[in-house]
């Protein structure tokens, strides 16, 4: 390819990426824009890219006069616990599926796959029926249990694929070196699976963080509501407080962003390079 053609190609490539990024991030930008638009300008200025006057009044209201901090705390507890429990269970189950041959393995995998085929709406009523006599409705633990149950199968498959990518030779070498299988798993395999663990943690955390259906159906008191349910409280019978709702939305993005910032270095692939031939 000639030089001008190559340059033109690069420009087209970058422009396409830029257009996609703008398209993907525009709703986030709009969230931010509305959250800093004072109420009196919200409907009077028409569609503008940035309000003539920005303010943080919605943020202050959300933080000081609404239940949002409590919703926020509940969401952190539910999502954090779910992510933590699911990742531990999925790591163990994924390792077993990746490394061991055992009776019924095929059926377990098939059943796990089957659980992913039902629309959640179908399952809300039976789950409510089951949790209610156990006193697990209207409680954060009930929500964690349901989220864990729904996320474990997919997370297990995800972790299994990461374990499959790590050569068996490594733990066999460790076992010959004097480690038990569990120690080999902990000291050799787990550190190499950190990208997988980070991906699973991130995936489950965000899934639980933004889950609305079960949170709405299983929780009725505002004391144990999570933030997606809380967001609905900005919608009243007669009006929608867009500014406050958007401010709450922006605040809700912060933990997810921090979480990904924290795990992103583990998401970098290539940690196993040099383990085996190549």
């Amino acid at each position: 390819m000639t030089r001008p053609k190559r340059i033109a190609g690069t420009i087209a490539h970058r422009t396409a990426i830029l257009a996609y990024i703008v398209f993907a991030l525009f709703p986030l930008y709009w969230l931010l824009k509305v959250s800093v638009t004072p109420n009196d300008l919200l409907y009077s200025e028409g569609v503008r890219l940035w309000p003539s006057r920005a303010s943080i009044e919605h943020y202050l209201f959300v933080l000081e006069h609404s239940d949002f901090p409590r919703f926020f705390r509940n969401s952190v507890i539910v999502s954090g616990s779910t992510a933590f429990i699911v990742t531990i269970l999925a790591s163990c189950a994924g390792y077993a599926l990746s490394r061991f041959a055992f009776r019924g393995k095929y059926w377990i995998v098939a059943l796990m796959l089957l659980t992913q085929m039902f629309p959640l709406v179908m399952l809300v009523a039976p789950i409510f029926k089951m949790l209610s006599p156990l006193g697990l409705t209207n409680s954060l633990s009930g929500l964690v249990i349901v989220y864990v149950a729904f996320n474990v199968p997919f997370a297990t498959f995800l972790m299994q694929s990461f374990f499959d990518g790590i050569p068996k030779d490594l733990e066999e070498a460790a076992m010959i070196d004097g480690a038990t299988r569990f120690r080999a798993f902990r000291q050799i395999i787990l550190p190499l699976t950190l990208p997988g663990i980070a991906a699973t943690l991130g995936f489950v955390f965000t899934a639980a963080w933004s889950e609305l259906l079960f949170a709405l159906m299983l929780i009725s008191s505002s004391g144990v509501s999570t933030f997606p349910v809380g967001l609905l409280s900005f919608v009243s019978k007669f009006s929608v407080d867009f500014g406050q709702m958007m401010a709450a939305g922006v605040l809700a993005l912060i933990p997810a962003c921090l979480f990904f910032l924290f795990i992103q270095r583990y998401l970098v692939q290539g940690l196993t390079a040099g383990a085996v031939k190549g």
Partner: protein, 357 residues
């Protein structure tokens, strides 16, 4: 160091039988090479000795102690894998010291052990590197270093050189031999490369189809292969084989091949006159002469120069034979004569493939 005794070892994966009763005694300090084509069960046997595969039947003893039900970690053996299996998140020093750290060895002793091994293997300057920053040969050395720091009862090698290029393989082969001479450690080495087997082994165990075909010194296997499988596997270029009929009558024992050509034998064999046999002769044992010299006349079909010598494909009595000669003059379609010296012929039963005595 220790002896290893393998008695009636069998391995089955469900209905598939991989090893059919292997018996083998390996002496203290001996270097034994398990050799055979892919899928012959040699790696499975090695992994059973290591404790990485369950034993279906039979018994393995290391230093007199039954190890069938012991975990790999309790067998006190070291293994070098084909893939090296270095821990990628640890430095060379950490890789080498891992086994000692697991055994809670004192720090000073660990330092002494790994620096000793590093000096032996020329790894001194690489100790702080991660495996990904090493070349194939260096990784192989680290894998060996990891094995020797522990001074285990036995070393197991699972095709350790097969990922290296030819030149490096030759160099590492020499290093493994030197290492064995200096450590005197009991070693079991699995390979499908018969040159590795010949050069390294005190004794070779030739396997095929989950059965031990022959056990002996490298030259035993080369000079007196027990059957057609071993005869075909040991030696490069491979032994020539062709069929004939054993004739005990007439002017002394001989083999009659296609076209009625009679190849005289050195002595009589314990088979009946008229028995079908397979005759083997190594390419390097077929003298090639100019046309007109005594021998069987034939034409050169193909010439394969190897540098040191030349492999000639010739076709006497309707069979293509390879002959190795250090004479470089021959070209394709030259008329030559070959001789089949009676003392160099190997006779095998054409049905069972066993060596005839």
């Amino acid at each position: 160091m220790a002896s290893i005794d393998i008695a009636e070892i069998r391995k089955a994966y469900g209905p598939v039988h991989v090893l059919h009763g292997i018996d083998l005694s390996i002496r203290d300090g001996e270097f034994v090479v398990l050799v055979g084509p892919s899928g012959c069960g040699k790696s499975t046997l090695l992994r059973m000795i290591a404790g990485l595969e369950a034993i279906s039947a039979g018994e393995i003893r290391i230093d007199g102690r039954r190890v069938n039900d012991l975990e790999p970690k309790d067998r006190d053996i070291a293994m070098v894998f084909q893939s090296y299996a270095l821990y990628p998140h640890m430095t060379v020093a950490e890789n080498m010291s891992y086994s000692l750290r697991l055994r809670r060895t004192a720090k000073e002793r660990i330092a002494a052990a790994i620096s000793g091994a590093a000096a032996k293997l020329g790894l001194d300057t690489l100790m702080e590197r991660r495996p990904r920053a090493l070349s194939g040969g260096q990784r192989q050395r680290v894998a060996m270093g990891r094995a020797i720091v522990r001074a285990p009862k036995a070393f197991l090698f699972d095709e350790p050189l097969s990922n290296l290029d030819a030149r490096l393989r030759e160099q590492m082969r020499g290093e493994i031999k030197k290492l064995h001479q200096s450590l005197g450690a009991t070693s079991i080495y699995v390979t499908h490369d018969q040159i590795e087997a010949m050069t390294l082994a005190d004794r070779i165990v030739a396997m095929n189809g989950g059965i031990v075909q022959q056990v002996g010194s490298p030259l035993d296997l080369y000079d007196r292969p027990a059957n057609l499988v071993v005869a075909g596997f040991i030696g490069s270029p491979a032994m020539n084989m062709f069929d004939g009929i054993y004739r005990a009558n007439g002017a002394g024992p001989a083999i009659e091949v296609a076209g009625g050509t009679r190849i005289p034998l050195q002595r009589a064999y314990q088979v009946a006159d008229g028995t079908s046999v397979t005759i083997g002769i190594r390419p390097e044992h077929i003298p090639v002469g100019l046309a007109g010299e005594p021998g069987i006349a034939c034409n050169v079909e193909l010439v394969e120069p190897t540098g040191f010598g030349t492999i000639l494909h010739v076709r006497p009595f309707g069979v293509t034979l390879k002959a190795f000669t250090i004479n470089r003059a021959a070209t394709a379609s030259d008329a030559v004569t070959i001789r089949l010296p009676p003392e160099r012929l190997h006779l095998f039963d054409a049905q069972g493939g066993q060596r005839l005595s």
